[in-house]
């Protein structure tokens, strides 16, 4: 009995621990030894890291239709192709299945990576392209190791600590972004930075792939379901050269940047969770909320709870720009929800009080919250708003007082007439009787 109980407890604990643990598959087309500091830091951060070469048989994304890992890191420095396992289609399927991807490819990037970037509206420089800055470069690097400090100002992606840590050393390729709002830059170039093709523009750069502040070095992409993809044009920035404290070229800014980037891409931070979306009449008990039908002009209260996960721990997410909509074809209401004080330490309760519109029909209570750096919230609930029942209209109308009086007058007159008629004796017959 005791043995069975211990086994049960151990099994439950392992299942619980597995739920917390995030798995990473790190694949590269070259040796991963030079990334040991980076991979060890992920392990210390609680990730379960599996390393493999891109051609290994064990480097699979799916098994029996199920995603094998939560996150993948793709590092490319020399291959022309990553094969079918890591084709753009396979990687996108992986993200659609709920996985996150961080890929880094430099000047010799595979065409598959460029194609994947195009699908994300990230237009990576051609093969043999390199980022150069003659004004902000590391000495004796032939201007190809660039010092950059224009990191994203979004506090959810890059922390203040990283922003104040100094310049980031970067050596690799660059890209520009299209108009897709889901793609955001994280690290951009100086006005003097540009990308040139080493083979065709070796003497003079006349038509740079991208230049200035519209040249981006690291960008991220988040789809509508909240899965994240990060792209860096420099696998070198994750190597021991810049991340290992024992290296002469160690850069604290690079280490902090790599930490922040992986935390965000692998959904360790800045993940919103919405729960307990309810609607009902003001004053109604909680158990009666979310009914199927309400009446026009009812005073209604709409609420939702939102938490933000940081390091997997939910905390209240407090903001003054959470909006709700009440929609029937077009929005009838779009108002800001007010954060309401509660005892909870894991979520923030939001409410909005509205009067139900005086149009009947099927309405949708909708919250679509999309902010840079946070995963989108898209919650909906549908209910009906009906007209007044016949006995819900005002019973007595001031217009009709004369009619009420005339009705009562008729009733009263008839009663009086009947009473008089019942007790009257005609005078002619009374004389006869005499």
């Amino acid at each position: 009995m005791k043995r069975a109980l211990c086994l049960l407890i151990a099994l439950s604990w392992s299942l619980f621990a597995q739920g917390l643990h995030q798995t990473i598959l790190a694949v590269a087309d070259h040796s991963l030894e030079d990334y040991s500091t980076f991979l060890n830091s992920l392990t210390e951060n609680g990730y379960d890291v599996t390393t493999a070469n891109v051609r290994d048989e064990k480097s699979q994304l799916f098994q029996y239709g199920e995603r094998m890992y939560d996150n993948i890191i793709l590092l490319s420095s020399q291959s022309k192709s990553f094969g079918a396992t890591f084709s753009p289609k396979a990687i996108l399927e992986f993200t659609q299945a709920g996985g996150n991807v961080l890929f880094a490819a430099g000047s010799n990037l595979p065409e598959g990576i460029r194609e994947l970037g195009r699908q994300l509206d990230i237009y990576i420089g051609e093969r043999h392209s390199s980022v150069v800055d003659h004004f902000h470069s590391v000495e004796s690097s032939n201007d190809e190791s660039v010092l950059l400090d224009a990191v994203s100002e979004n506090p959810y992606i890059i922390s203040d600590e990283t922003r104040q840590a100094g310049s980031i050393v970067y050596k690799g390729n660059g890209h520009y972004l299209g108009t897709n709002h889901r793609a955001q830059p994280v690290l951009r170039g100086h006005p003097s930075t540009y990308v040139y093709n080493k083979k065709s523009e070796g003497k003079v750069s006349e038509d740079p792939w991208a230049a200035g502040t519209q040249l981006f070095l690291v960008s991220v992409f988040q789809n509508d379901a909240g899965e994240r993809i990060g792209f860096s044009g420099s696998p070198e920035m994750f190597t021991n050269t810049y991340l290992s404290p024992n290296s002469p070229s160690y850069s604290a800014a690079n280490a902090l940047f790599a930490r922040d980037l992986t935390n965000w891409v692998f959904q360790r931070v800045a993940v919103l969770k919405a729960s307990d979306m309810t609607y009902g009449k003001v004053g109604e008990p909680y158990e009666l909320r979310n009914a199927s039908t309400y009446r026009i002009k009812d005073q209604m209260v709409f609420s939702i709870d939102i938490a933000i996960l940081n390091d997997g721990q939910p905390q209240p997410y407090v903001a003054d720009d959470v909006q709700m909509e009440l929609v029937m074809l077009d929005p009838y209401y779009r108002v800001n929800m007010v954060p309401v004080a509660s005892d909870s330490k894991t979520y923030q309760h939001y409410e909005a009080v509205l009067t139900a519109p005086d149009h009947y029909g099927v309405f949708t209570y909708k919250i679509a919250y999309n902010r840079p750096g946070l995963n989108p919230i898209d919650e909906k609930a549908t209910f009906t708003i009906r007209q007044f029942y016949h006995n819900e209209y005002p019973r007595f109308l001031p217009h009709a007082y004369p009619y009420y009086v005339s009705c009562f007058a008729v009733l009263g007159a008839f009663l009086i007439f009947c009473g008089i008629w019942l007790v009257q004796i005609p005078k002619a017959s009374s004389k006869k009787q005499k």
């Binding site: 004004f135 004796s140 006005p191 003079v204 004369p402 009733l411 009663l415 004796i425």
Partner: protein, 271 residues
């Protein structure tokens, strides 16, 4: 490699004596739509700085001519870019590479109408900078070409938010406008007419009393139980009608009516 590094190190401390990129005979001018030089728009590079404002219009063409040189010796740099950036938001900028010939001569002819709409809306003007740099030991050079200032009245209307801002910022508030409540009756008139009807009722009773005293004699004591029961039933029926009108349902009304009907039948038998 060591020698080159030493030279670079030396240049750090003796910047004045190290080679650097610069320009010769640099000129900036604006051409009007008729390709003639706009009066007062031609300026040499040494007359330009960050605070120099150049009045421009989107119909003008900007011409920048210069010769690249390393310490006054003509050379071809790897990078010769002109950067236009918003003074207040430096991250909004655009780069135009300048074609440099073999003898170092470079010219950029840019119709200002080709500048992106978003960048020309800048209220403080566009800061123009020429960046010249190349691989090697020569220090790069950044030369300010002043600010292009556009007359805000001549700019096309530009209201569009970027795709990202449109989706990721709060939307305008919408509040439903309810239909106006039905017009309320004039209560005074309503009461006045109610009184008029009530007055008619009083007049009717008065007329009845006048005629009835001439034609009949009234005796309550000579009434029978039947008369009494009938009168009570009638009063009860009218009362029930009133309550049906105010609060009872049809089913309740029918239920209570049965009892009154029985009373009516009994009173009819007695009469």
């Amino acid at each position: 490699m060591r020698a080159i590094s030493f030279v670079s190190l030396l240049c750090l401390f003796m910047g004045v004596f190290c080679s650097s990129w610069n320009t010769k005979d640099g000129v900036l001018k604006l051409l009007s739509p008729t390709k003639s030089l706009k009066t007062g728009s031609e300026k040499r590079f040494d007359e330009l700085n960050t605070f120099t404002e150049i009045d421009s219009s989107l119909e003008d063409t900007l011409v920048v001519q210069f010769t690249c040189a390393i310490d006054d010796e003509a050379a071809v740099p790897h990078q010769a870019h002109i950067v236009f950036s918003d003074k207040k938001k430096p991250s909004i900028s655009i780069v135009y590479p300048v074609k440099v010939k073999g003898n170092g001569d470079a010219v950029l002819k840019l119709p200002l109408s080709e500048l992106p709409s978003e960048i020309v809306q800048s209220e403080d003007g566009l800061l123009s900078t020429l960046m010249i740099g190349s691989f090697g030991d020569a220090s790069p050079s950044s030369i300010s070409l002043g600010s292009l200032v556009f007359d805000s009245g001549s700019l096309p209307a530009f209201n569009a938010k970027t795709s990202t801002e449109a989706v990721t910022s709060p939307q305008p508030t919408i509040l439903h406008t309810f239909a106006a409540p039905p017009k309320a009756a004039n209560k005074f008139l309503s009461l006045l007419f109610s009184l008029a009807v009530a007055a008619v009722f009083v007049v009717l009773i008065g007329v009845w009393m006048q005629f009835s005293s001439k034609t009949s004699v009234y005796s309550v004591s000579s009434s029978s139980l039947g008369h009494f029961l009938f009168f009570i039933s009638l009063a009860t029926a009218e009362g029930l009608l009133f309550f049906y009108w105010t609060s009872l349902t049809i089913f309740q009304f029918i239920r209570y009516s049965v009892f009154i009907l029985i009373a009516f039948v009994i009173s009819a038998k007695l009469l």
